[in-house]
């Protein structure tokens, strides 16, 4: 909301500067987003008078002027303008002035003659193009008057933002009232005199012109009056200026006056062209389906229950939101029907939100208006209309209940201390509340009556805020509470694994990225795995951001594509985040490796493959406190992965991680070249599964090794062979290391040779050759039996 200082001063008697007032507003909870001094561009530019001009001794075209600028002595200014002459009133930029174009004025010497300031042309001041000479001013302002003031540009425009609870301050008057309560000045009384109240002047219904019937509980109070015989032209310049300063476009006097009243007092009102009305006015619930050509240029379709303003022609206005085109006032309007009414905030909010119709009226009704302002605003409006447009005002018809019973809150003033943290006498609490317009009765707990303009005051906490707000939040002393005796345990599901995974990924060389949780629907669908996807009904981008990702993989692939397009050669990205299906949210971590690093002089190009992904997945699982070595490795087809080069790490049905090379088809779809490997770990599952550490094995006795080479069919899985060897004696076999896989010369087609080394060790003795041989024999026999292996 924008308004000028002079407008504010119409309601507030104050000596404070605009900046002081702005600071006060901020501490009262009225955020000042901008403070614009209209004349800021003319700082240090004043009205001056050329006392004398003599030619410059060293330059034909220059003159040396003595210029009076309101100081004890005239200033000497060198000026080249042809029209510079004695006895001329001019605009003088003094040292320190900054003219348009960042032109800084400072004392100087021109051709050896001191010059202290500059006499300005119209162009130099930024008013126009005229630059043939200095500006010959015509002004009544005294010499030395700041130019801005002389030109009437000395106003300051405040731009304030108000939170939804501050319906009371959505007007210049409301802000003045709050400032006055805070001691920033005195609130001026409304300019209503006895004769303005109408007295025995006939009302519209008395005159038989039109009557109003209220048939909707969303409209508790409605005032109407008629001004006849007006001339509705352009508004006077002071009114246009006020509206323009507030960011509103002047339309015609009557419309401008209703806007001005809304801005001044926070009471929306609407003017109808009396001669366009058909019969009497009814405020009633819409049936649903009616339409209204709104003044905002849109056609609005009403829904059942909307508050509609109707005459015999049908709906002529959407109450409290927007008026209708068919009955609008224009420059030809002679008779005006003025509606100043109250509408329920709930009804206005529901209708306004549905119609997406944002108007100043709706904004105020939604946040609550002061019911005690309706009648005064009505009186002030008709006064202003007759002042500006002439005509004759009728009396006011008022229908309904003006205001509800005032609200009362029982308030213990000690709460300011026990809740607000500020030690304050109850007498001061009372005084502060009264300054804000509250009536305070009683001594122990107060009985506080809430003023009609205050919004949403329901309980003691609200009143504590009012007191603190007026006193200033800064007044509350800072205190550190003692540490709690009990800590909440077990509410942090996922936090620890989240952190371990992020650090773990970084430790493995991945750059952690954070991608959007919503992705392209098709890309999401590929990884849905038979589950229903979670979809946004109002996505920011219907194409690319419509579906909650069921896996991290598509996000990482997209990120890789973006980076490759930027010229990155190698991408090593990780992410920790949630994945979603219709009914689940699962925290996961994933890493992606693709592209090729630059060739290194020593080691060539570093290669990675499915086993890199496997190693990284295992490292992360181990970091998460699991024992990846003890997990089963499944080789099964996984969506998005190369069917022959991917796998899973699991314990029974619980799959902890999936790893492998990205399916070539997927690479092509995403437009990625070369090879990419990735892994994804289910952190929620890791969190829920604690693997026992098992027995700590420590032995001072010697370990022995036995090497084997087996010839097995190609499809025999090395992991199974390793497990078989380990199974030969669970107590003595410490480790099995597969150190070679060989195919080629000497090995028949369809076969491979596996070379393994088995380490045996006991905790309580040195093993004898006989014991070692016996285990080795058992192991070999088992491998032969299980896999049809041949010992080489």
């Amino acid at each position: 909301m924008k308004f000028s200082l002079s407008w504010l001063k119409e309601h507030l008697d104050t000596n404070l500067t605009a900046h002081e007032l702005a600071d006060k507003m901020v501490s009262l909870g009225i955020e000042v987003e901008g403070l614009e001094e209209e004349g800021a561009a003319f700082k240090r530019v004043v009205v001056g008078h050329i006392v004398s001009r003599v030619p410059h001794e060293d330059a034909d075209k220059l003159g040396v002027c003595q210029v009076q600028v309101g100081e004890s002595e005239p200033r000497q200014i060198v000026c080249g303008a042809p029209n510079a002459r004695d006895n001329l009133t001019v605009a003088v930029a003094l040292d320190g002035a900054v003219l348009p174009g960042d032109f800084k004025i400072k004392p100087t010497k021109i051709r050896g003659v001191k010059s202290n300031g500059m006499i300005c042309s119209v162009r130099e001041l930024g008013f126009g193009e005229e630059h043939n000479g200095i500006w010959e001013m015509e002004t009544d302002a005294a010499i030395g008057t700041p130019l801005a003031e002389a030109l009437g540009l000395d106003d300051v425009i405040f731009d304030v933002a108000l939170t939804p609870n501050r319906g009371d301050a959505l007007s210049v008057y409301g802000i003045a009232r709050d400032l006055a309560a805070a001691g920033a000045g005195t609130l001026k009384s409304l300019n209503i005199e006895a004769q303005d109240q109408g007295g025995d002047v006939q009302t519209p219904s008395d005159k038989g012109l039109t009557s109003v019937t209220l048939n909707h509980e969303g409209c508790p109070f409605f005032t109407s009056q008629v001004v006849t015989g007006i001339q509705n032209g352009e508004s006077p310049s002071w009114l246009k200026k006020r509206l323009e300063q507030a960011g509103l476009r002047p339309i015609n006097a009557v419309a401008d006056i209703t806007n001005y009243m809304l801005m001044s007092y926070g009471q929306p009102m609407h003017a109808y062209d009396m001669d366009k009305l058909n019969g009497n006015i009814r405020v009633e619930a819409a049936q649903g389906g009616e339409t209204l050509e709104g003044l905002d240029g849109n056609t609005h379709k009403l829904a059942k229950g909307d508050i509609a303003i109707c005459d015999d022609s049908g709906v002529i206005g959407l109450a409290g939101i927007v008026g209708g085109e068919s009955t609008s006032v224009d420059e030809n309007t002679v008779n005006v029907f003025l509606e100043v009414a109250q509408f329920n905030r709930h009804n206005i909010a529901v209708t306004g939100q549905r119609l997406q119709c944002n108007t100043d009226a709706r904004y105020r009704f939604e946040r609550g208006i002061d019911p005690k302002m309706t009648l005064p605003a009505s009186i002030l409006a008709d006064k202003l209309i007759t002042e500006i447009c002439g005509g004759e005002a009728s009396g006011i018809d008022a229908v309904g209940t003006e205001h509800p019973e005032p609200q009362k809150i029982t308030f213990d003033p000690c709460k300011v201390k026990t809740f607000g943290g500020l030690d304050m006498d109850s007498s001061e609490v009372q005084e502060l509340l009264e300054r804000l317009g509250y009536q305070v009765e009683g001594a122990g707990p107060f009985e506080v009556t809430v003023p009609s303009f205050a919004q949403g005051m329901e309980n003691e906490a609200d009143l504590v805020e009012e007191v603190l707000r007026l006193k200033g939040f800064d007044a509350v002393p800072i205190q550190l509470p003692p540490l709690p005796k009990v800590r909440v345990k077990g509410a942090d599901k996922g936090r620890k694994s989240d952190r371990v995974a992020r650090r773990g990924l970084a430790g493995l060389g991945y750059l952690e990225c954070i991608n959007y949780s919503f992705i392209n629907r098709e890309k999401a669908a590929q990884f849905a795995g038979g589950e229903a996807l979670l979809e946004l009904s109002n996505p920011l981008d219907a194409e690319e951001m419509s579906t909650m990702r069921p896996a991290l993989i598509p996000s990482l692939l997209d990120a890789a594509v973006k980076n490759m397009a930027r010229g990155e050669k190698e991408v090593r990205l990780g992410e920790v985040g949630k994945t979603y299906t219709e009914q689940t949210e699962t925290l996961k971590a994933a890493g992606l490796l693709c592209g090729k690093a630059d060739k290194h002089w020593q080691q060539g190009v570093a290669e990675f493959d499915v086993f890199t992904a496997k190693a990284h997945a295992m490292a992360l699982l181990n970091a998460l406190g699991l024992d990846a070595e003890k997990m089963q490795v499944y080789q099964n087809e996984q969506v998005g992965f190369h069917p022959g080069r991917s796998g899973q790490l699991a314990l029974g049905k619980n799959v902890f991680a999936t790893f492998g090379e990205v399916h070539p088809k997927l690479m092509k779809e995403y437009g990625l070249k070369g090879k990419a490997v990735l892994f994804e770990v289910n952190l929620d599952l890791c969190d829920s599964m604690a693997m026992k550490k098992g027995h700590l094995f420590m032995s001072p006795y010697q370990a022995s090794e036995r090497d084997f080479a087996f010839l097995v069919k190609q499809d025999v899985r090395a992991g199974d062979v390793i497990n078989t060897l380990k199974g030969a004696d669970k107590n003595l076999v410490r480790q099995v290391n597969l150190f070679d896989v060989y195919t080629g010369e000497g090995v028949a087609d369809g076969y491979k040779s596996l070379a393994l080394s088995m380490t045996l060790q006991a905790e309580d003795r040195t093993l004898t050759d006989a014991e070692i041989n016996s285990v080795a024999e058992k192991a070999v026999t088992a491998v032969i039996k299980r896999f049809g292996a041949e010992v080489r």
């Binding site: 800072i478 909440v488 990780g574």
Partner: protein
């Protein structure tokens, strides 16, 4: 000169002339081996008359010792030379670039989350988590934001097509405050909890991304006041920014707190003089806070006559930008390697 002297002289000369260890070994055998010349002299002792044996024996032995010593010295010298030659040959240009290990980094948002968690943890707050996909109740209604409340419009909520298991409309949480309600429902006060995580709003421009992170703190006890809130915030801000902070609380409005305050700090860059970062106001808005509204306590099943407390929240990205000098919010979500490498933190960084 006796033949023994001659032998000694010849032997030492031979040793002296040696150039390689192989030659040295040969010479050693020739002189001191089983059939070596000096060994032969010793063997001759038996054939000498007994009275000569002792003296001759000593003389031969002397020769043997000095030759053996000479051999030893020579051997060391030759070995040294060999090693020096080897070291010389092995010399490399150490300015050649080593194969760089990939330096992984945490996203600045993750790092700031850790910092914030550490600080709040020291102030007694335990971490709590909650769902990102929520119902109207937890995101709005329970937080004292009823259906027609103007604040709902400010949230630009993402709604979901899929209903929840009970057939209720769902949305992506617009704030981490939903965790307040879940936590109050599950745990008994007194409590101090924080929740940090992703939140979503349907808004995207220079200063808004549709997804961002929030941190939120909630403290409930018998006698916590607005003054305690100020104490926690001041401590938190000074710990986080690692300097003395001038803080200003402005009355504001949040449906879930009453009184409510926006928290500004004196601009970290211009010290309040006004600059581009603070839009020439001298202040930076960093937090929202207030005393928990009684309706919120009731939604969480907490008796407002018995318990009271405060809550506060901040945007993680904002905190990160201010502390680490990141100027463009959108960079956080573009996954650019150059950004991540520059502003990310290695996993070994342990500052707090």
């Amino acid at each position: 000169m006796t033949s023994l002297d001659q032998l000694k002289e010849n032997s030492l000369e031979a040793v002296n002339a040696l150039n390689t260890i192989e030659e040295l070994e040969k010479v050693r055998v020739t002189l001191l081996g089983k059939n070596g010349e000096i060994t032969a002299e010793l063997k001759k002792l038996g054939s000498l008359p007994p009275e000569e044996r002792k003296a001759h024996g000593q003389a031969v032995n002397q020769v043997k010792v000095s030759v053996a010593q000479a051999l030893e010295v020579k051997k060391e010298a030759l070995e040294e030379a060999v090693l020096n030659a080897q070291l010389q040959a092995e010399k490399v240009d150490v300015t050649l670039p080593a194969q760089a290990l990939p330096l992984g980094k945490m996203h600045p948002v993750s790092y700031v989350i850790e910092e914030v968690e550490e600080i709040l943890s020291r102030l007694g707050f335990s971490a709590a988590t909650g769902p990102e996909v929520e119902t109207d109740f937890y995101n709005f209604t329970a937080l004292n934001i009823p259906e027609d409340h103007p604040a709902r419009q400010d949230h630009d909520t993402f709604y979901l097509k899929n209903l929840d298991a009970d057939g209720k409309r769902r949305l992506l949480r617009t704030q981490t405050s939903n965790v307040q309600i879940h936590t109050m429902q599950k745990f008994e006060p007194p409590m101090r909890v924080m929740s940090i995580g992703r939140v979503y709003r349907n808004d995207s421009d220079l200063t808004h991304t549709p997804q961002f992170h929030q941190v939120e703190g909630l403290a409930l006890d018998k006698n916590l006041t607005f003054g305690h809130l100020k104490g926690v915030l001041q401590t938190f801000l000074e710990e986080y920014f690692e300097r003395k902070i001038t803080m200003r609380l402005r009355p504001s409005y949040f449906p879930f707190t009453e009184p409510s305050a926006e928290v500004d700090i004196e601009c970290l860059f211009c010290k309040g003089d006004g600059c581009r970062v603070c839009s020439h106001t001298g202040w930076l808005e960093v937090l929202g806070s207030g005393m928990v509204h009684r309706n919120v306590l009731k939604s969480g099943g907490v008796n407002p006559e018995e318990w009271q407390g405060f809550a506060f929240g901040a945007g993680i990205e904002r905190l990160a930008m201010l502390k680490y000098g990141i100027h463009d919010l959108r960079l956080f979500y573009e996954s650019g390697i150059s950004f991540l490498s520059h502003f990310g933190k290695p996993s070994s960084t342990m500052k707090v």
